[in-house]
C-alpha cells in the first residue's frame, strides 16, 4: 500500500480535483439524518457523520431504476443504461466491506451490467469513522477496510493520512502531487494511536462464533414469534441494509399499450409477496417465517464473513426498534 498525507487546508482543492473524475457525492446532513448527496465543496459535507440512512449501495444497485424500454410494434428491447462517472467521498469501512460483498454477487457471478458498469465508473474515497452505540462492525471484522477503495482518508490533527488502494487512486494522487506530502514518522504514530483508540470505543458486541449453527438450532424457537409480534413487515431493515440486495421488477405500459418500460426497485424479504409462488402458495406466509428468513440470510456465512457488516442501520431505522444484536443474543440463549 502507498501512503501519503493531505494537509487539511488542501481538502477543498482535493475535492475540486475529484470533480474532474465525475460528480462528487458526500455525506450531507438533511434534517436529522445523513444522506450521500452531490456536493460542490468540502464544507457541504458532514464528515463526522454516524451513518447515512441509505447506504452507498444506492449508487450501484439503484433504489429504483429503469432496466430497459420495449416496443411491441417494433419488436425491440432497448437498453437505456447511461454511463456516468461519479466519486463517492467519505464511505465508512463497513460500507466498503458491504460493497465487496455485493461485488461477489453482482460482479463475480454472472455480472449484472448495471451494477458492474457503475462500479467501474466510480471512485471510492473511504473515510475513517468512530463507532456509536449501534455499531458492532468490529465483531464482524468489518471495522477496517483493507481494500475495496481507491483512496482512504484517516483524520489526523493537521491533515489526512491517505491510503492509496488502487491504480485509479494512485492516478489521482499523482495528479495532485502539489497538494500532498509524504507521510512522516509522527503521522504514522498518530495514525496508529488513533486506530488503537478507536478499537476501544466499541460498546456493542456480537458473538458470531458458530452463529450459523445457533440460527439453525433456533429454527423453531419462540424468539421469532416474540419479535414477529413487534414487526410491522415494513421492510425498512432490508432497504437500509448495505448488504441486502433483493429486488423486484415491474413492467409499465404506455398509453399506446404497445411500448413501455421495465423497472426494478429494491425489494424486501419482509414483505408478504416475497415468498409467493405460482398457485398462490406462499412459502413464508407469516411475519414469523419472514423474520426468521431474514436473520438466517443475514447470518449465513459467505466466505469468512456474514451477510452483515455491523453498521447498525437495521436497528436504528426499524420503526418498532427491533434490535438486531438483541435478537441474535436471544437466538443464542444469552438473554
Amino acid at each position: 500500500m502507498k501512503y501519503v498525507k493531505l494537509p487539511k487546508e488542501n481538502l477543498d482543492a482535493f475535492v475540486e480535483n475529484l470533480k474532474t473524475h465525475g460528480k462528487v457525492y458526500g455525506p450531507v446532513k438533511i434534517g436529522e439524518y445523513y444522506s450521500f448527496q452531490e456536493i460542490n465543496n468540502s464544507k457541504e459535507m458532514s464528515l463526522e457523520y454516524s451513518r447515512t440512512m441509505i447506504p452507498p449501495k444506492k449508487f450501484f444497485l439503484k433504489l429504483k431504476e429503469r432496466l430497459f424500454t420495449f416496443n411491441e410494434e417494433k419488436g425491440e428491447y432497448k437498453e437505456t443504461l447511461e454511463e456516468e462517472k461519479i466519486v463517492v467521498f467519505g464511505i465508512h469501512p463497513c460500507d466498503i466491506n458491504a460493497l465487496k460483498l455485493m461485488d461477489k454477487i453482482y460482479i463475480d457471478e454472472t455480472p449484472d451490467k448495471y451494477y458492474k458498469m457503475r462500479r467501474e465508473n466510480a471512485v471510492i474515497v473511504g473515510y475513517g469513522c468512530h463507532p456509536d452505540e449501534y455499531c458492532f462492525c468490529h465483531s464482524l471484522g468489518t471495522n477496517y477496510a483493507a481494500d475495496g477503495f481507491d483512496l482512504f482518508l484517516h483524520e489526523l490533527k493537521d491533515g489526512f493520512f491517505v491510503r492509496v488502494g488502487s491504480d485509479k487512486g494512485n492516478a489521482i494522487v499523482s495528479e495532485i502531487s502539489e497538494l500532498i506530502k509524504d507521510v512522516e514518522g509522527s503521522d504514522i504514530e498518530e495514525f496508529r494511536a488513533a486506530e488503537r483508540k478507536r478499537e476501544k470505543e466499541y460498546t456493542l458486541e456480537l458473538n458470531i462464533r458458530g452463529i450459523t449453527d445457533m440460527l439453525a438450532l433456533a429454527y423453531e424457537s419462540e424468539v421469532w414469534k416474540e419479535y414477529a409480534d413487534k414487526c410491522f413487515g415494513c421492510g425498512s431493515c432490508n432497504l437500509v441494509c448495505p448488504t441486502c440486495r433483493c429486488y423486484d421488477v415491474v413492467d409499465n405500459v404506455n398509453l399506446n399499450l404497445k411500448s413501455g418500460e421495465r423497472l426494478r426497485r429494491l425489494d424486501s424479504c419482509m414483505l408478504r409477496k416475497h415468498g409467493l409462488v405460482a398457485g398462490g402458495l406462499n412459502f413464508r406466509p407469516t411475519r414469523i417465517e419472514r423474520l426468521r428468513n431474514r436473520f438466517n440470510c443475514k447470518g449465513s456465512l459467505r466466505e469468512d464473513t456474514l451477510n452483515c457488516v455491523g453498521c447498525g442501520r437495521c436497528t436504528v431505522y426499524c420503526p418498532s426498534q427491533i434490535d438486531y444484536v438483541e435478537v441474535l443474543k436471544k437466538v443464542r440463549g444469552e438473554l
Binding site: C269, G275, N296, L301
Partner: protein, 293 residues
C-alpha cells in the same frame, strides 16, 4: 460492449396448442441467428419468458434441443404472465433469457437405472430428461417413468404418453400412469386396456408395481410441493440414498441468476438460491437446508 444479461432476446411463437383447460404447449424460435447457434440447454434448466408490459416468468424447457434456436414450453395459466402467454398468437414476439439453473446431472447418472416420478405439470421438465435418456439409451440401464394425474382431462402430452403406455417397452422405457379420480371414465377404460401399467390412486401407489435396486438407481422427481414428501418417503423406505434422489423446485424469481433474492431458502448453515444452485436439488440438500420442501 459488456453483455446485459437482463435484456431479453426476441423470440417468435411458432406453435401454440391447447393441451388442457389450463395448460398450453408452445414452441418458440429465437430470432437472432447468432444467438440461435449457441443457444443450448440441458434437461432441468429453465428460461425466463418475458411478455412486454406484463413481466417475466421462469418456465422449464420441456424437450431436448432438436433444432437450433427452438424451445418447447408447457405453460400453466396461473397468473399475470402465464395468462398473457396463453393469449399469444402464432407469430407473436416474446422475450427470452437463459437458459438458467443447474439442470439434471445426466452424465453423473450414466450407467444407472433411472426412475422418473412426475405429478401434474411436473411432467414438463421430466419429459426432457426422458427424451435425453432415450436419445442416449445405451448410457443408462432401466428407465422407468411414473406419471400421476388427477383426471384424464388434466393429462399432458396425451398422445405421446398414451403411446408410451402401449409401446413404451419397445421404445426402451417402462411407463406407468396413476390417476386419482376413481370415477373418471376415460381413465377407467385406460386401466382396463393396460391394467399392468395404469392404476387408480396417488402416484406413490405405483411403487407397488416395481422392484427397485437402490444401489444403482437415481430417482428424479417433479410435481406439486406436497408430492415430494410422499415420494421421498417411499424412496427412503426402499433404501435409495438421499444424494441419489433429485428433485426440481419452484419459487418465485425475478432474475434467474442469483441476484434478486426471491428464491433464497435455508438457514444460517445452508442458504441456497433455487435459480442458480438449483432448481435441481438432491434430497440430501433438502435435509440440511431448511424450508426447501
Amino acid at each position: 460492449m459488456m453483455e446485459n444479461v437482463l435484456l431479453p432476446k426476441l423470440a417468435k411463437i411458432v406453435k401454440s396448442e391447447k393441451m388442457t383447460a389450463i395448460e398450453r404447449f408452445l414452441q418458440v424460435e429465437v430470432l437472432d441467428k447468432k444467438f440461435a447457434e449457441v443457444f443450448d440447454y440441458q434437461p432441468g434448466q429453465f428460461i425466463e419468458v418475458s411478455i412486454m408490459g406484463v413481466g417475466e416468468a421462469p418456465i422449464s424447457t420441456c424437450s431436448i434441443r432438436t433444432k437450433k434456436g427452438v424451445i418447447d414450453l408447457c405453460v400453466r395459466n396461473v397468473g399475470r404472465v402465464t395468462n398473457a402467454i396463453h393469449h399469444l398468437n402464432i407469430g407473436s414476439l416474446i422475450g427470452i433469457r437463459g437458459p438458467y439453473g443447474n439442470g439434471f446431472p445426466m452424465e453423473e447418472m450414466e450407467g444407472s437405472n433411472l426412475l422418473l416420478v412426475a405429478g401434474g405439470l411436473g411432467v414438463a421438465p421430466l419429459r426432457s430428461v426422458l427424451q435425453y435418456a432415450l436419445k442416449n439409451r445405451a448410457k443408462y440401464k432401466d428407465i422407468t417413468v411414473f406419471y400421476g394425474i388427477r383426471t384424464y382431462d388434466t393429462m399432458l402430452f396425451r398422445d405421446e404418453f398414451y403411446n408410451l403406455l402401449a409401446e413404451g417397452d419397445k421404445l426402451g422405457c417402462k411407463f406407468y400412469l396413476s390417476y386419482e379420480d376413481s370415477k373418471d371414465k376415460q381413465c377407467i377404460s385406460l386401466e382396463a386396456e393396460h391394467s399392468e401399467r395404469c392404476m387408480c390412486g396417488v402416484v406413490t401407489k405405483l411403487f407397488e408395481r416395481i422392484k427397485l435396486s437402490p444401489e444403482d438407481t437415481y430417482a428424479i422427481i417433479c410435481g406439486p410441493p406436497i408430492m415430494y414428501r410422499f415420494v421421498v418417503q417411499e424412496l427412503t423406505k426402499k433404501q435409495v440414498p438421499p444424494e441419489k434422489i433429485y428433485m426440481t423446485l419452484e419459487r418465485r424469481m425475478k432474475c434467474g441468476i442469483g441476484k434478486c433474492g426471491h428464491c433464497i431458502i435455508g438457514d444460517g448453515t445452508s442458504i441456497k438460491y433455487v435459480c442458480k444452485d438449483g432448481p435441481v436439488f438432491t434430497y440430501w440438500d433438502a435435509l440440511h437446508t431448511k424450508g426447501m420442501i
